[in-house]
């Protein structure tokens, strides 16, 4: 198999496996869950058997570099921007849910859950900052 075939088959199997997994969880269907695991295992076997072709497809293709300092910078900026936006949206949702708490007790419970997620995200951000500060010097 050439690298393109291996790459495409792997991507398709991965998408199908993930979709079956999600549908299995939503539908509480154990057969879908088993089918997703089987597809994932098949995908892994294909990659294992055609490792060099898979690596060629997913990393450098015929000498073309996929990632460099600029693309890493773009990823970093996009991650920071999306994290900040996500935090802001969560905070607004918490404020909204707390405001609507008298309508339905579900809103207050949802607000508590969102507050826990916000705290977790802030803790992860602090840990990541400390890690990279140590890695790249203070």
């Amino acid at each position: 198999m050439n690298s393109k075939s291996v790459g495409i088959i792997t991507i398709v199997l991965s998408i199908c496996a993930n979709l079956l997994w999600i549908l299995g969880v939503i539908d509480e269907n154990f057969l879908m869950f088993i089918a997703s695991i089987i597809l994932a295992v098949i995908g892994l076997l294909i990659i294992f058997k055609n490792y060099n072709e898979a690596e060629e497809f997913f990393t450098n293709i015929r000498g073309k570099k996929i990632e460099d300092e600029r693309s890493l910078k773009i990823k970093e900026k996009a991650a920071i921007a999306s994290q900040g936006s996500f935090l802001a949206i969560l905070i607004y949702l918490v404020i909204g849910f707390v405001t609507l708490r008298s309508l339905n007790p579900v809103f207050l419970n949802s607000a508590y859950l969102l507050i826990a997620i916000i705290i977790l995200q802030i803790v992860l951000l602090i840990i990541a900052k400390i890690f990279y500060k140590k890695k790249y010097g203070n």
Binding site: G63, K64, K65, I66, E67, D68, E69, R70, S71
Partner: protein, 63 residues
């Protein structure tokens, strides 16, 4: 920051693809540098200057 990367590339009859491969960066990065939309890191700027056998100041200048 302005640069003369396109000029130096043309002087040496290089395509963007060839320059990207030789510098070990993406073609999109070469395009972004030439259009002054991306300022390369110091190490990459040194690499570019060394590649064209000139100094950083000859290729890059402040706005």
């Amino acid at each position: 920051m302005k640069n003369k990367l396109k000029v130096y590339r043309a002087m040496n009859n290089l395509t963007q693809e060839k320059l990207a491969i030789d510098l070990n960066i993406t073609r999109q990065s070469v395009i972004a540098i030439e259009k002054n939309r991306y300022d390369p890191s110091l190490s990459l700027a040194f690499k570019i200057a060394k590649y064209f056998n000139t100094t950083i100041e000859d290729i890059f200048e402040e706005d």
